[in-house]
Subunit: 309 residues, 4 copies
């Protein structure tokens, strides 16, 4: 579309491999739970999968990491796919303009979270998953395995335990939502599901593959429809406006792709109609996004001269 | 790019002409200044201009209206073009998550406005224009006339006076920014410039033409560069994440184009690489965006099956 | 002290009995739990006990009611008496300038509640009671029975159950405090204690008697010291600045006595050196204070020409 | 009243003279305007005047200083005296729970300031003075001279100029109040009055004398009524709940007297029925109250065993 392509995907990845070194290890590894803190910060991976079936990868692409908030994109996909636009009665789709765990807005806005990617919104989506499925964790895990074509993807139990033990802030949000009548199942069950899905481990190639349907009009490469074309576009829109915590404006400005990040250091992005891309490096900036990952994505869209803008 | 095109631009506009009737006149005409309140709500216009030189228009496309906050996109363009990324030291590029005139965030974030499209951010940009130009209003008016290819575009003096007389909230913001040292010129002069540019009148075709450079890699159709390719992309990114007040998420979700709206009922949007589009209808939703305009843009991107997502 | 006395206590109470009729039943009975909602609003009682041993009472003075937040004054007394000024490391003593259940301040002030009478502060005090006592509910009940000289005072189990079932907002606050490390015992145990003490039933005379030590330099009439003179003064100071929700300024202005109110419709006040006074009527104003009770106290201090100012 | 008197006023002042040394010079002299910053921090004064005509003073009691926010108590007195309780339609009487210059509450509470002692509330009172008097500054200066029995009291012109030049925050508040329709006269005139009255210089004895009517049922010792008994009590109540910025709770707790402080380092307090007291030392704590002044008042009420609690 833009016609200003400089490098091919392969050339761009090779260039990034050369350049990214000084950024790896920068920032701060997530430390709110002990097990995340132990991750070696000197790791970096990037993987691209295209709608015409090509795959590219560099760095530690087969090392598993905690997907954390990236799981919120899968949860939104399933909730939207099953329930359609009625989910927007219980969660909005506006950027929060605040840190990801703020509960201030939640109180002033009557328990309707700003969007499905801040923690309170993701808790409401997890509550919806409890209404949709009898066993939401199993269903979601199967779903993600299918998207990633990898049956060995599973939950890291140590991370899961730690999340539950240190999740007082999320319990606070969940009870606040409940006090406004916007959480229907048991708080502890819903949060257990939420934490379990945050504790899923995937590698960078898994992640790129599992986001490809969002670049492919809602379909797997096999042709199977995951969500409708319209819904795929809309999930991309929500990712662009709300997917990277309080960095969404800067991310749109510098990278220009819809994306969802996690404090495990992963970021998954899509270029509608062409490819999905995942990146991972544990060091985080002060907004909770991977420093090297953010930089690599910025370089990538610059080098191949493609962004949605 | 998406390949799911149903209707041509011309067919889509004709279809919208048929459908939009029930939405015209809905919502509430801006009433914070008396002269805006007098506008006849039963008006609607839409215009599209393409990078290959075609133009389409329907409804009251040659009726002038107050562009209001849409001027902020022109001001940002000029400030970014002249000063580059250093402007981001004085204004951020994150969605505010709040109503457009909120000064709460301004106080808690030390006088650095969230983005150039909320009023405080636009005031900082107006202050920058005072540093760049000796006569900022004249310079900006010339600039807009050139973009729109219409030398008769001018300021509505009655609106300008009203803005100044009823602008206590903006004076409050400007002095607050000054108290943090982020406003360098005289408050009254800066606000006079800000109000003058908000009071510019254009018609819908003018507006579509004047945004075309943002869809054309920063250039006029003549080839003249207005801003660099990178800067054009970035202005589009800021419009997408911050351009439609506290509707940005819903707008991205339903329309899927970078856009800037104004309380005069206008909205200008771009589809990078292909076209710019403007729409106008005075009735506003509770977030300050044109009801019929929003609906028409949603229908348009659905009918031609094109959005950036 | 002021020397402008008009009426004696007895005369003032008689006068209030005549005047207060139109105020009884005004306002809205607390309805956040069903059992409180069932209380007959057409009730009113007032009781005065003096440091020289006199007692006066009018209206339904021997009808028990739910003391609710008035229990927070007893809890503070015990925590301050046992731990002294070190409790102020975990809770401040400043008015909140907000509704009694707001958690916004809690988040922006790092989990240190503004004062011991807003819910989050009272939860921290309940947590302290768990550190001080093995069986805090039993200890506090014994303490209150001794103050009121009435061994039949007990917890209303129906209210207690309802509080626990509808207390999502308090669970949210407690977990938020815990997330900042300012709640040490188990959230559910601490809140059970908090709710149990809010569910105590006393009559108006019990209540006046149980506050007399605060007017008597910290001592029972028997001479037994409950808290030191300094601590009694300080509890009075905290009541004056924080005891009546977001009405403290107006209450000081119109009544001029340290007081603690509850949404059961009770208010207990002290006039240091002379008397304690309790009033009860279920109808609440929009800040959560008894309408007739507030009016009766205002009339009382006007009629006897005594206030701390 | 309490009967636990230890020391006489004279003995207490002598004791404080011995003790206060280490506190003088602590804290930070106000630096928001250059002229205040030049004040020698190593100064301290205290003065007491009693309703039976005695006067006591220690330290630099005859050194003039900028009364700053203490002027707000005089302004409130005059506005309340002239207009009565109807002033409370335009300003409330609740503690703000926030820093003295916060404009956040102002926005969320529709331009009705929380109380007359935060800056926005004092600006509304200054606006009222413009409705009451043709020449409010002259009238207020005459009034204060009469209260202090000192015709040489006047405005420090250098401070006045500096206040106007550095008052962007107050301009911001004033325009915000105006945007809600709660400021009727010209913003610049009202603020000029406000700044002029903040720039009055008095010495510590002047200040003690000028607050004596609040301890003397609203009357000068000559018998002349300044405000009614009720109004005097109410001004004391507002001082107790709102007079010492975000220290009111701690001040009530530690000192236990109604008081108004200023960032010039002065604090004036009253003990209704007995005496007024003023203290001055330029070093401020982080809430804007004099460190040595606060400590001296705490020691004073402890040593003479008198507080309103």
């Amino acid at each position: 579309m833009q016609g200003y392509r400089n490098l091919s995907i392969e050339e761009a990845l090779r260039e990034i491999e050369h350049r990214i070194g000084p950024y790896i290890g920068r920032g701060k590894v997530a430390d709110y739970i002990p097990v995340l803190k132990k991750v070696d910060p000197d790791q970096f991976a990037m993987a691209v999968t295209t709608v015409d079936g090509r795959e590219y990868k560099i760095g530690n692409w087969d090392t598993g990491f905690s997907i954390q908030s990236i799981s919120k994109a899968f949860n939104l996909t399933k909730a939207l796919g099953k329930r359609g636009d009625q989910i927007w009665k219980r969660v909005r789709q506006e950027p929060s303009g605040r840190a990801f765990n703020s509960i201030i807005q939640l109180e002033s806005e009557n328990g309707i979270p700003r969007n499905p990617f801040i923690n309170p919104g993701a808790i409401v989506i997890a509550d919806l998953l409890h209404e949709i499925f009898e066993h939401p964790v199993e269903e979601m895990l199967d779903f993600i395995r299918k998207l990633a074509q990898n049956d060995s993807i599973c939950i890291n139990e140590e991370v899961f335990q730690s999340e539950k033990d240190s999740g007082a802030g999320n319990y606070s949000s969940a009870y606040l939502i409940k006090s406004f009548g916007n959480l229907h199942s048991d708080v502890h069950k819903v949060l257990s599901t939420y934490f379990a899905l945050c504790s899923i481990e995937m590698n960078t190639l898994d992640l790129a593959r599992s986001f490809l349907f969002l670049a492919n009009h809602g379909r797997l490469l096999s042709g199977e429809e995951i969500v409708s074309i319209q819904q795929a576009k809309r999930i991309n829109a929500v990712m662009l406006t709300c997917g990277t915590y309080d960095n969404v404006g800067e991310f749109a400005y510098r990278v220009g792709l819809p994306a969802k990040s996690g404090v495990g250091g992963g970021i998954a992005a899509t270029y509608p109609g062409e490819f999905s891309i995942a990146v991972w490096s544990p060091g985080l900036n002060e907004k909770g996004n991977s420093v090297a990952g953010f930089k690599a994505l910025e370089d990538f869209t610059t080098l191949i001269s493609k962004s949605i803008f």
